[in-house]
Amino acid sequence: MKIKNILTYCFISSLFLFSLICIWKILVTLQGIELINFNFNKLFVFGIVLCVINLLIGKKLNLNIKLILLALLFSIFDYFISINLPIWYSIGIFLISLFFFNTIKNYDKNFLSKNHSSQKLFFNFLTLFGITLFSFVILFPFYMMLVTSFKTQALLLLNPLDFSINFAQGLPELFKSYFVVFKDYNFGRYMLTSTIVSLGTVIITLIFAIPAAYAVARLNFFGKNFFSTSILIIYLFPAIVLVIPLYTIFSQLGLRNSIEGLLIVYTATTLPVAIYMLQGYFKSIPKELEEAGIIDGQNWLGIIFKIILPLSLPAISSVALYVFMIAWNEFLFSLMFLDRPNTFTLSRAIQFLNVGAETPRQYLMAGSVVVTLPILIIFVYFEKYLVSGLTAGSVKG
């Protein structure tokens, strides 16, 4: 056994355990429980002690017994240095340390006597640490969005760290913000508008894009290369340089405050990427299939409907999902074009809520949950398609 390896093992493992405990403590603090110290010194030293004990026990004890024993020791220690905390806090500590000792069970004397083991150890823990930290940093705002929507402004002003959910008050009281948002702030209507606009954009974009993509992928015509490169260039032009001219034109034509206007703009801005994505896929379909279709006497409409479409359903779904996501999340054009509440989309409505500074935050967050949840559900459910759409369409963002 090398002394360097053992030192690295002890320090890094204990640091990792401490960081896990920190995250747990932050979450506990946000339940309104008073916790003002991470107890870095004591926990870190005791963590090192336990790591050494783990090493010394080695395989002399049954693995499960060893894990439970060590975790129990750690929890009891933590219980005594932090007083007056509920039992579920200590259970959490116990489970975390159980998980921790389970991850370090492979680092025994044999492992530590190898040459590269300290580096390997370092990177293994870096990965674990990274995964924990990334998940925490990413999920934390989403978590706060959700729990804030279940609180009330008055309670939050009283104790800004108390985000505990009071289930005893009953469901209608718990979901009050959502009832208010749908009833008083008309979110049902905005949701309908958003759905209509997004689905409409998807349908119109596909109707325009499929024939054009087919032409680019399969037919020979003068200016084809020019057409396909300009698609990409046009796609790189951002919305912000279109906003002023479109605003002037739309206000003179009376297209502002209309869903039709929004549909036209969304379709035009998503069309280039849809064509770009679809033509790439169409090119990968074997030409022989179409030639067979031509021999059967199909015209191009027949070829598109009977051969191309059924074969490229996965690509079309990813384009559709991607376009849906863009249209659902779009904010700039809805801000510019809509200023009457009866035509608002969800994004615009939430911005409108926030501008009225008096809106209590739980309503704002309930609205945010309402706009976020559908897109996240769609994403998780259709992840495979959406990820390929994202990768192909990610020139834009």
């Binding site: 932050i26 989403f142 087919y214 999340n329 945010s368």
Partner: protein, 419 residues
């Protein structure tokens, strides 16, 4: 025969792409060109309303004379800035009444009153009074008179279609003392946002490329910030970072890491003391950049992960045999493999961050030193109401964009040559 087929093919192709071309032309290309047109004009937001001649009709009975009734038209030009030429007026009346004192400009024929009111300068106002007499000795019904509404028409110049041009907008944009500041803020934001997103993307991709429990779930979670609507995320962050009631400040104070709240989104500078030197860090801008990185690193992650998974496993196995450590493996195997992806990613993200509007707009609205070019377009055009200035700033953006695109396509072409 074959040339005929080729002709048919060509015609079909044009037919298939025509709708898309028309739509994209009218909604994307045409506006970009009209931006140039507008940027050379002195157009304000209020000029966009087309001037209208308007009339309000008031019906008044005359005391002691039920046989007569007075009608007053309050005429005005709705525009405060433009004149209306050749205004025509029309109104209908019920049966059995006649005007007694007709204005010279007007004519009454078969229940129809028609006037040629000539040219109205800006802010023009006039009261047109006409007294009507009944012809059948019955009391005149006010209701019947009110049921008709006057119709007016006139010609006015659409300020967008005149041939008056000015260079003032561009002069103002470039001479503005804040312009250098604006540019530097934009580049600072763009550069650090892009680099940060790529660095975190590499880290995340390295992690997820290893085998561990819950890996597919982790991959979905990492993409959440990118797929969720920006409005919801920006407002959540705003609440988290709020100086008085925000969770972050309260947590830090609770754990005694800081003494007092920090206004992360509202404070322009913070002074840091590193090794005895005072550094002025642009606090609000840095916070906005961190949000930007948080939201867009998933994209870099997705790209780099896809590339990493295509790296042949044998390379790593060979390195293991040679006894390479993880850092050496990363520098000598992974990095060269993903370098091409990173350079493309950098260009694309650079272009998009340069034009990013929503994130900053929602978080700070461009206050406390976070005003970038796209925010300036909005502020000039809609907060100040100077459409011409807004357009001029857009043109500045387009010019930069064309330069970036030129470099990007050069890079793409070079890569294609190498392959």
């Amino acid at each position: 025969m074959s040339s005929k087929l080729a002709k048919i093919e060509k015609r079909t192709a044009y037919l298939l792409i025509l709708p898309s071309v028309l739509l994209v032309f009218s909604i994307i290309l045409f506006p970009i060109f009209s931006n140039i047109w507008i940027s050379f004009k002195n157009v304000k937001l209020k000029d966009l309303r087309i001037p209208e001649p308007r009339a309000k009709k008031l019906v008044k009975s005359i005391k002691d004379n039920p046989n007569q009734i007075k009608i007053i038209y309050k005429l005005r030009n709705s525009s405060l800035t433009q004149e209306i030429t050749n205004v025509k007026f029309k109104d209908r009346y019920p049966d059995n009444i006649e005007p007694t004192n007709l204005d010279k400009r007007c004519e009454f024929k078969q229940k129809l009153l028609q006037c040629e009111l000539g040219n109205w300068p800006k802010k023009y106002r006039e009261n047109l009074e006409i007294v009507f007499q009944n012809t059948n000795n019955q009391e005149i019904s006010k209701k019947g008179l009110k049921s008709y509404k006057p119709k007016l028409s006139g010609k006015s110049q659409n300020i967008l279609l005149t041939y008056e041009f000015t260079l003032n907008n561009f002069k103002k944009v470039i001479k503005d003392k804040a312009f250098i500041d604006l540019l530097s803020t934009t580049f600072y934001y763009t550069f650090f946002g892009t680099i940060g997103a790529i660095v975190f993307g590499i880290l995340a991709a390295q992690m997820v490329n290893q085998k561990f429990f819950g890996r597919t779930f982790m991959r979905s979670v990492l993409l959440f910030p990118y797929v969720a609507p920006v409005v919801a995320l920006a407002y959540t962050w705003e609440l988290l970072l709020d100086p008085t009631s925000g969770t972050l400040n309260n947590l830090l104070i609770n754990y005694q890491i800081i003494d007092g709240p920090i206004n992360l989104l509202g404070q322009k500078y913070v002074t840091l003391n590193i090794l005895g030197f005072d550094f002025k860090l642009r606090l609000a801008l840095t916070t906005v950049i961190i949000f930007e990185i948080w939201r867009y690193f998933p994209l870099a992650f997705l790209f780099i992960l896809a590339r990493l998974q295509a790296v042949p496993k044998e390379l790593y196995e060979a390195a293991d045999v040679d006894g390479a450590n993880p850092i050496q493996k990363f520098l000598n195997i992974t990095l060269p493999q993903i370098l091409a992806v990173i350079s493309i990613l950098f260009m694309i993200r650079f272009i998009w961050n340069f034009n990013k509007f929503e994130d900053i707009f929602l978080l700070t609205g461009g206050a406390s030193g976070t005003r970038t070019l796209p925010i300036n377009v909005y502020q000039q055009g809609f907060s100040i109401g100077d459409i011409g200035m807004g357009s001029a700033v857009s043109i500045v953006i387009v010019v930069f964009l064309l330069i970036f695109m030129f470099i990007y396509f050069k890079l793409l072409g070079k890569r294609a040559d190498e392959n």
